[in-house]
Symmetry: D2
Subunit: 365 residues, 4 copies
């Protein structure tokens, strides 16, 4: 691909929670950019590093050996927003718009374009910088697979794999002890991890945020299994799943808006309810951060590499303001503006849901 | 899905080489068929078991616990073809058409439809039975991902994962010893495993059957790395890859037709040539059957489950003569007849090839 | 080994929490007993099944394929004690001594000796039956490695492996986010899992029940790392670890005796304290039951097999009342009576503790 | 531990084939040395780097993050011997004694003691330097576990784990296809890997160099299984195993001394013989270098760390000329001189052999 722009130097940053594959994207950006005559700078710790001018040039050596490693060699943070940035004024922390400083730092290093790897929060900031005239290309990142415009985000396959392996382990202990094992997985707003891992790990019930669950259905499923001589059950619950009509007692507390949702303990509470109502020993495991760390699966490494190369393709083609995405198994470009404020959730007609029902999974409805 | 046919009992068999996910397909076929009022029989050891009447009914209990297991609970074989079946006549083995016997066995058990899980050889036999009037539905199976009409076959993701993990292991030993490590992976006619695993495992060269390779390019790549201080290289070669213009010396011997290709030793020969020509210690590892056994990845378990459910959907809809397939991330149906005699290979414009080149992988051309 | 006893038929049961390797022990007991002319019966669900007469003969086929599987094919439970067994009398559950019934069931099936696989609770019951004249041989089982008389219990290596892999995953996310990651692992009374996993996973602090910890030391360690530019730390805490002088606020509540300890939340509380006192984002992961399920490591499979064979050796030699054990890398026999009421804990002079200190691990003292 | 010597600076090198855990030893040496006031230098590429003066100081930062990584950060080689070192004289390569140069390089960097991590070849060179007055401490390293004086070398547990996992994968494909699967594992002179992996992976036959095998016994075992309805078998063969009385046809060719043994193809030849003699499809997999690369198991990381700390203990105590070793589960010191020219092999009375026989494994005798 020829460079149809005047861009000679690009920068790359990672923002938001980490996901397996971040390093693979960075490596692909660096290697494909260098291979086509561009220089590449890395910005440390997300947008905060852009404000603080924490940048250094990346070479082939910088990215040697990082492909199989989890995390991000650039560091990341869920917090810093240059448009509302914490600064110390007279001994007090106040929040100011530091985007001008951030842009000045890029200019000073002669950086003409920015590759932003991140989730919705990060992409939103990227879109704002694009509005201000910075040539931005985005790479979608979220464990939860809930970024619209793309069928698959990197890191998701790894998270599903970790959760499915946990289910394999819980399966044998559940069966030996005649217990219900509840596994709480990531997914505040979207149930993709729970749905895929539950299907891969042979779960009997899968509870997701998109389907407020009926506890009676869950209990009925467990009892029906007992009657058939299956003295144990496996339940997967997304952290953001909650009972129908009872948004408060189990799962999450909605305080007005999606942004303010407080989560925690969905799995633990469910296990206690099952024990109480079904009269069968129940235990809960919360996988937590184990899902987002560590070496990515082969699938995620390939997808990350494709994304990284495609992001540099966008730069060379001058196709700024876009996010690279996977649709129908092909890498395409989607305007970042088109995905702002939208969600990618499991829908009622999702083929996986239907397949799950066909093999007898209870979704709590 | 309502049963729009008069089918009350179906049978399922697995044929050809095994692949991780076979049991997951069988489980999904059984569970979704039972859930919709069908009875299911399992035929042992592929089409041979249909001739020999090795069948038994499958229940929920039959498939309990098989989801994570490699292999096939039904057994399989690469050999038996009812249309040309070895029988003992007067102490001698002769080959006869036993398809009538096979069909009679199904009739006797009151089986009205057959789900065939297999690769090209198995699908061809399935198509012949369909021509004879047997209602057949096919599920594509091959480690190599080279069945046309579907973007992905189950088992492929697992094979790629095993190969990529082997590359991770070889990477550290190659780097410590300043060696070239050659990994030979499966893929007689198609380079999908080599391409995906090579990209996932950070290979420097990837040699596939679709691109007869130029040994000079491989040597040049290795030397160029040495000059940059990278004293080791990783090379992935598909078992069916061969050098340009030298089909005989390395890789395979073509004896007139694709069917008669003799393979063996592609990786070993390559390692010796690299050692001789580049003057750097080289070692070869042949993964072999380790790629096709063992527990499937979460991805393959989900895909297998989707296929199994979709196959029963075909039965209920009376959509016989079809293979279920994945296209654009959706499960669809493809007439088995349409795929006969066709291949699914890496093409010159494949996005993965281009991405690989962009990050500096040498494909030997 | 010749059979020096008149034993012709033995039984085997598994009791207490499950541990990876239980099936491997059962398989070794069955195969080595059959190979030496004994018949073997399996008792289901621990000592409860002995009372309820849930037994069946085990053959070579019964144990085919179980070596790599987690859990126990015989089922288990932490509860049933024949000497104090729940029975329904006039609609009420009362506890009675049903040991006579249990012994009668064995006699009726012509079983002359019993192999008991279990932890301290199970071994205690086994010892009582031995006192009553039943020829008993014991195999030590506990994830926690805290059974006295043996250097290593099976399942421990697997649990350590699972915990160390979790640390590997948490490492990359901690480093990318500049966080403290706390991993809570099993170990109510003994810190072996925390000690081994912490050392294997590169933990900076390891907190174990044997060393009531000083929170200030932990905070100091984390801050010292920050000053050296290491913006993250990994902390492993055994579920039974608690702060010095503050047995109540974090960790466990002692209500008079070891038996009544209530645990829960040690890791979560610690993470919150670290965040408050060190001013660095902290997150906790509780591995829970994932540590005890799933396929055993090669090490545990070998150890389990050795134990199973050695248990049958005891039977043939008439060496009843013994537990097989590992001491100085050899399998020996220890009288069950000798280990009753004793513990196997990390001691102040343990070489691993000293090695840990030498490489800079903080043990909170 | 107090420094009872005048040593202020030590060096560390790794020699011979790499093994999982090398980096963990280096890390433990560096961290425990720094923690006790010593400086540490790393010598690159084994003894060759000592001649060529390829050395640099190692700090806490040098070893950050290397614990889970395979290979050796210092590089290694199987070749260079300073006492017989290849030098170019008048355009020709001649071999000269360069040990004086090597010692001079250490003196110049003010290095007073050397930690050598390696196998028998490396230890022998270390012993020679010790004879010349260099304070040397050795750490035993070999995948094969065949260094005398120590019960366990690091890397062995990882190699066994890789081989056992391969057996798990081959198991399912063997069972599905009714085949014999032969797995060739490392072990030229010692059968430890084959013995442990075979027991862990449920092998039916295990062939090791210590027991020249009788092919008839192997065939008989396979046929006996077939008669019991087990239509498949798993065979593990060490690369150095050979048939009784037929040292030439399969396995290795003895040309006068152990040093000159030529190996190769033991597994492949065995598979062909089995197919011919037992009339059952047989396939061979050669694991090769995959066994020695990649991340070490938790067990190996802990053992490596213990060894590294103990080596520095030796330095501080002035206990030079020793190898650290594991005996009866404790770290001890063994004079390097005591182990020269000795071997550590499986002996006829090894408990594992007896346990293997008890559960029905055929060792070919």
């Amino acid at each position: 691909m020829l460079n149809t722009t005047s861009v000679k130097t690009i920068a790359v940053l990672t923002g938001g929670g980490d996901a397996p594959g971040l390093n693979a994207v960075i490596r692909a950006v660096v290697r494909s950019a260098l291979g086509r005559g561009l220089a590449v700078w890395g910005i440390r710790n997300g947008f905060g590093g852009m404000v603080e001018n924490q940048m250094c040039e990346l070479t082939d050596v910088s990215v040697a050996g990082i492909l199989p490693r989890g995390g991000t060699m650039l560091g990341t943070t869920n917090r810093d927003n240059p448009f509302n940035y914490p600064v110390s004024r007279n001994g007090q922390v106040v929040y100011e718009n530091m985007s001008g400083q951030a842009l000045a730092n890029l200019r000073q290093a002669d950086i003409q374009a920015l590759v932003v790897i991140g989730g919705d929060g990060t992409l939103k900031i990227g879109a704002e910088f694009y509005q201000l005239g910075l040539p931005v290309v985005a790479v979608p990142k979220t464990i939860d697979n809930d970024i619209p415009g793309t069928e698959r985000t990197f890191g998701f396959d790894t998270a599903v794999g970790v959760a499915a392996e946990a289910l394999d382990r819980l399966h044998t202990t559940a069966e030996s002890h005649h217990r219900v094992m509840v596994l709480e997985v990531m997914g505040r707003y979207a149930g993709w991890i729970a749905l895929h891992a539950g299907m891969a790990g042979g779960a009997d019930c899968v509870l997701i945020p998109e389907i407020p669950f009926n506890l009676d259905s869950v209990i009925a499923k467990i009892k029906e299994r007992q009657e058939r001589g299956r003295q144990f059950s496996l339940v997967v619950i997304a952290e953001g799943a909650y009972p129908r009509g009872g948004e408060i007692s189990v799962g999450r507390i909605v305080e007005g808006s999606q942004e303010k949702i407080r989560l925690g303990g969905a799995g633990e509470k469910l296990a206690r309810e099952i024990e109480r109502l079904a009269g069968i020993e129940s235990r809960c495991t919360v996988l937590g951060h184990v899902q987002r760390g560590g070496t990515p699966t082969a699938f995620d490494r390939v997808l990350s590499t494709r994304y990284g190369v495609a992001a540099v393709d966008c730069v060379l083609a001058g196709a700024f303001g876009n996010m690279v995405a996977l649709q129908k198994n092909r890498i395409i470009r989607v305007p970042i503006a088109d995905i702002a404020g939208k969600a990618h959730n499991v829908t009622a007609d999702d083929e996986l849901l239907r397949a799950g029902r066909a093999i007898g999974i209870c979704f709590g409805d």
